[in-house]
Symmetry: C2
Subunit: 386 residues, 2 copies
């Protein structure tokens, strides 16, 4: 007789979070040691209300389609569990006879995961707890990178290339585009790849490096003056010298974070009003984490592998760990999974190395040495005739 397992998603989805779900479900099925496979409907919300989806008998063809399904197929939420919630969590785990719990998420989720693990130990519950990493922001520590990042980076690199070509083929305005990332510039940095893929002019601004808006505008003016069109890519969390986001919505989310946004529009307005140059702002927004046609093949495989690895590790008795990716880049890229203690991951944040930013708006080769294999797959080769 086997055990029952529960999988939950936490926070914002990525283009490949369902690949991890697919990997976990398929590993559980092929192990022959799992009775019931449950998923929490809408993450922590479903755990607290006991609203679980029974995936045990979902057809294999549907599970296989998870690999090409964006967003969270089982639902997620932004609710951060408080100490008062944990007894209810344990109640649900007991009620459904859960022997292994998998939380697929970022920093906040790994913190939750760690607390559930500790609490279960204290209560003497026979529960194995495993974190599966997920964040397009790439800001988890103790892992070379996070599943979800490669696809978001591929989206940023290729979409910025497409916008740069548009901006230079019809150079009637400065195009400013905003990419997701409140505190971490990893994804926006990937948009700087557009300069390499297209030979167009691209200026990139990351949230880790506060900008002097006057200097930013004067750099934009100089680049525009070359007459070959210009793409400016900015992170949604871009800050001014006072440390405050250039553009805030003023809205606070469930984790207490202020939702930034409108940064591209803010920069565009300044270009029009102060430089008297035509400009337009784009904000692909959530598409940056949901656009399946841009998903990185490497990222999809690793996300799937992370889900499988978590289930297999739990089945052999491991608990209290997050799956981590170890990567080798020479002679060719390869990666493998390992386990790192949840306690060391929870709430730590990996920011973008500032030494990888040049002149305030260009990204150094070192970043691409790191990221190119994660962006993965064939990169587009454009016909450049102009």
């Amino acid at each position: 007789m086997g055990m029952n397992i529960l999988i939950a998603h936490g926070g914002g989805p990525t283009a490949v979070i369902n690949c991890s779900l697919q990997g976990a479900v398929e590993a559980a099925r092929s192990s022959g040691r799992v009775d019931k496979i449950y998923a929490a409907r809408f993450g922590a919300e479903g755990i607290l209300t006991g609203d679980l989806i029974d995936l045990t008998d979902v057809p294999a063809g549907t599970i296989a389609r998870l690999g090409r399904t964006p967003a969270s197929a089982i639902g997620s939420c932004r609710r951060k569990l408080t100490d008062a919630d944990y007894p209810t969590v344990l109640e649900t785990l007991k009620k459904f006879g859960i022997g292994a719990f998998f939380y697929n998420g970022g920093n906040d989720s790994m913190d939750t995961c760690h607390k559930v693990s500790e609490l279960a130990k204290r209560e003497g519950l026979d529960l194995r707890v495993m974190g599966i990493p997920k964040t397009m922001d790439n800001d988890l520590v103790l892992t070379d990178h996070c599943p979800g990042f490669g696809s978001a980076a591929r989206f940023a690199a290729i979409s910025a290339s497409e916008l740069a070509l548009d901006a230079s083929g019809l150079p009637i305005h400065v195009v400013v585009t905003e990419y997701m990332g409140r505190n971490a510039g990893w994804v926006t940095a990937a948009s700087a790849m557009a300069a390499r893929l297209t030979n167009c002019q691209v200026l990139t601004y990351l949230p880790e490096l506060p900008v002097d808006e006057d200097k930013m505008l004067s750099d934009i003016e100089s680049a525009w003056a070359k007459g070959q069109g210009l793409l400016v890519t900015v992170s949604e969390g871009l800050r001014g010298l006072d440390g405050k986001p250039l553009a805030d919505t003023g809205i606070v989310d469930g984790f207490g974070h202020v939702i930034p946004g409108g940064t591209a529009q803010h920069v565009t307005d300044a270009i029009i009003q102060k430089l008297h140059i035509k400009s337009r702002a784009e904000k692909p927004g959530l598409l940056g984490r949901a656009a399946i046609p841009y998903a990185s093949p490497v990222d999809r495989e690793e996300a799937y592998a992370a889900g499988r690895y978590a289930v297999n590790a739990a089945l052999r008795g491991e608990s209290g760990y997050m799956v981590s990716i170890r990567a080798e880049r020479t002679p060719v890229y390869s990666s493998s999974m390992e386990l790192v203690p949840l306690a060391e991951v929870a709430n730590a944040e990996k920011t973008f190395p500032l030494e990888w930013v040049q002149d305030g708006n260009r990204v150094a080769d070192a970043f691409f040495d790191y990221a190119l294999s994660l962006i993965g797959g064939e990169l587009p080769q454009y016909a450049i005739l102009r």
Copy 2:
């Protein structure tokens, strides 16, 4: 001895405008009857200044890559030629010994094309003139549809599906997304496809149908109340009952024109302020015409075929026509090219049939009967577990 030809792009590009260029160049090469293949650098600007790109000896491999290159690979412009410009145009045509001129564009370009054709006739110039249709807006008359539309529609249909899944998997806000189309709702209508592909709630608003903003908000409130998340798709040109665009940025550009746009942000602001519901606005913007990973295979093939057809028709002596697409939808989709007189195409506009809009915010089956084969290729099949 053969003739020299000149190809120019007019107005905004599409995801497949370079497919037409590829088709035209390859047809010219394989005919054995063309000496020099010129392209105007930046469209009308290049014609007026005599700045042409010589494509005659560009390697075949580069020409082949045009099929996957977004934006205009030879450059385009928004300059509309005036009567005073036409003598200069003829001068350039004579100087480079052009025997056939191809203008790849939308309404304005077909008007220009027609005028060049008439003028050449009056001047006794041995010039063949051919229009190649191009517009993501799909608003040219006398053709079943326009090259460029299928890809923009595929982008709208699939990106809206991805956003709808994101909005329903983490239902913490109403997601409002803006698609291109100032006067024509064809592309935004395709975003309504998301409701079919995902089973999520999608409300769609087109520029042809002025909206009562109070009614719009009350419809959004009711849909949101169902608790399954909500995607609202709006055309950038959406108008209120007074006939004015809902959102003008209010910003005047360097040319004294008010900059339109921000419709999604306008609706989002109203949702937050009047309904007190969290909302976020997305604006993929130019990506809607540049995103190669979403390009429709049918659209790519037809755009290529239109370029070939134009060159071959000119070489056999035709002049004064636009290439038009005739389509059959039963028993299966097929299309063929034919010629329609430029005079009948110039400056006419095909708007979205209002009878295809239901309840002000849903799109009727009749539109999908028309558009589905143009969106083309396999449509995504998502795993729906919630």
